[in-house]
């Protein structure tokens, strides 16, 4: 074979690989990036959700930049982390490169990070002050009308289960929100649903009124159709990405697996509003959830979504109706 022929074959092979892997999309110019359109009520709590972040690589930094930008219009006070906070080695330099540096601007502005442990996390992270774990592998904290339960889904002991039940029983806040690494429901081809964990936790969530659950582990965004009255989100694509891994099935309400993303959430009184934003600055979807099915607004709940885009799967191709309580539409 001639040298030119060999080069042509090599180029064709490279092109095929590039097409298969999909080049990283460009960050949108500032004027085209989504501007957060959550309601921003006076007494609401506002937070961000990120998962599977601790790579120290470019996408993590880019998502962090979008978070900083989002905060200009939506000054969230804290961030919940869904595990895999530090991949690989956990030397002091790794805490810097994979956490403190990418989120430096948010830390400087006193944004608090509340971490849960993933399967890549050494449990000694619980002593890291910036993760607000209080030296515990699982813990709870309150913000306004919500109580958050950070669980260690890697090691679900009877002791932890008993603690969770005790805490849920004692909770006076109307919103009960759990977050942990492994999703009870997932349409991911690589991992899928954590069945053993579901068997253990779901009856507790249902019985004690946990309304919303955030998990990571799968490196994409997925909103699951409500299961027994509980809304499950997967937001594990805030640094790593498992492209085209969602096998949309009867579980999937909406999904996004072609780029990294993070979530913004606002809770006011009986309603929770959310937006999911991509690394490039696009709105992935937005919606709202009522605290209980009985109190669901007439306009519906999370079925009010932006039309599905390329790389998304979703049930939400409906026009978003006039939002309840004056909430601005982000669609």
């Amino acid at each position: 074979m001639s040298r030119a022929g060999a080069r042509a074959i090599a180029l064709a092979a490279l092109a095929a690989v590039a097409v298969a892997c999909g080049p990283a999309a460009q960050i949108l110019p500032p004027e085209l990036r989504h501007v957060v359109a959550l309601p921003r009520f006076d007494n609401s709590i506002q937070f961000a959700v990120i998962g599977d972040t601790g790579t120290g690589n470019l996408p993590q930094y880019q998502v962090a930049e979008r978070m900083v930008e989002a905060r200009e219009n939506f000054p969230f006070e804290f961030v919940i982390m869904l595990g895999d906070n530090l991949y690989g080695l956990e030397r002091p330099v790794d805490y810097e490169r994979k956490f403190a540096v990418p989120y430096a601007k948010l830390l400087d502005e006193k944004v608090e990070f509340y971490a849960s442990l993933g399967n890549h996390d050494n449990p000694n992270q619980r002593f890291y002050e910036n993760f607000h774990m209080g030296g515990e592998r699982y813990y709870a904290f309150s913000k306004g009308p919500a109580r958050f339960f950070a669980l260690d889904s890697n090691y679900m002991t009877e002791e932890q289960v008993a603690w969770l039940i005790r805490e849920l029983k004692a909770t006076r806040q109307p919103w009960k929100i759990a977050f942990f690494h492994h999703p009870l429901y997932s349409s991911g081809g690589f991992h899928g649903s954590s069945l053993g964990l579901r068997e253990r936790l779901e009856p507790i969530f249902v019985k004690y009124g946990v309304r919303v659950v955030f998990s990571g582990h799968e490196h994409f965004y997925e909103r699951i159709k409500p299961q027994h009255g509980v809304y499950y989100f997967i937001a594990g694509g805030s640094a790593r990405l498992r492209r085209n891994d969602i096998n949309s099935d009867e579980l999937t309400a909406a999904g996004f697996d072609t780029d990294n993303s993070f979530m913004l959430v606002e809770i006011e009184d009986d309603e929770l509003y959310f937006e999911t934003i991509s690394r490039t600055g696009e709105l992935v979807e937005s919606g709202e959830i009522a605290r209980s099915d009985e109190k669901a607004p007439e306009t519906g709940t999370t079925e009010q979504l932006a039309p599905a885009k390329r790389g998304q799967s979703g049930t939400g191709a409906k026009e978003r109706p006039a939002p309840a309580r004056g909430a601005a539409s982000g669609s």
Binding site: E90, M133, N154, E158
Partner: protein, 211 residues
């Protein structure tokens, strides 16, 4: 004409019973009897050995400052190393089987019974998480770049409870006892999990490390 495969009443009843028995024996949680928790003298002695380890550990780290929340990862890392070194020094002669002891075969049987009842999707997901390692050495650190695979919650309810400083973990097919704060391998029960299992549960260990 009479069908050559027609069954007598007794034959039909037998067929129904055989079908039912086959279903009952299928490896699904819905039909198979759940394994019983490990109990008895062997379990008690194992628990006693884990408590002895807990006591040894307590005295080994007694001189070290207690770790509280800190903004300094340097402190976290230094504390982990100090705890590991103190324990290692006290257990310098420790060898495989010191803690599992004669409970090893019973624990292996229990783990395998639990594993065999898991749906293939669950087994596949578990293999996808298990890091591909040969059995680690006692007193060695748990390899810091390998994930700590999720431990099946139902299995935890069947195994004897450990002191808070210690946990069960799978490293590949091996069951280990891991000191949490020291990130140290306390004991190893090699090859507890059976091989890749039936079709659909094939491990993708080489590809999945670090995912």
């Amino acid at each position: 004409m009479k069908c050559p495969f027609a069954l007598s009443k007794r034959g039909a009843a037998a067929a129904v019973w055989i079908s039912w028995l086959m279903l009952a024996g299928a490896p699904t949680r819905a039909f198979a009897a759940a394994p019983a928790p490990l109990q008895g003298a062997v379990a008690k002695q194992f628990v006693q050995r884990t408590r002895s380890y807990g006591e040894l550990r307590k005295s080994a780290v007694a001189g070290l400052p207690k770790l509280v929340e800190t903004p300094s990862p340097v402190e976290i890392s230094a504390r982990e190393k100090a705890v590991a070194e103190a324990i290692r020094a006290r257990r310098a002669g420790a060898k495989r089987g010191d803690v599992f002891g004669d409970a090893g075969p019973a624990i292996q049987a229990l783990v395998r019974a639990d594993w065999s009842q898991r749906p293939s999707a669950e087994r596949k997901a578990a293999w996808a998480e298990l890091p591909p390692v040969s059995a680690p050495a006692v007193n060695a650190p748990y390899p810091p770049t390998l994930p700590l695979a999720t431990f099946p919650p139902e299995l935890l309810t069947l195994l004897p409870q450990l002191p808070k400083s210690m946990e069960y973990r799978f490293a590949g097919p091996h069951l280990i006892l891991r000191d949490v704060d020291a990130n140290l391998v306390v004991d190893v029960l090699p090859d507890v999990l059976p091989g890749p299992g039936p079709a659909g549960a094939t491990p993708r260990l080489g590809q999945d490390a670090g995912k």
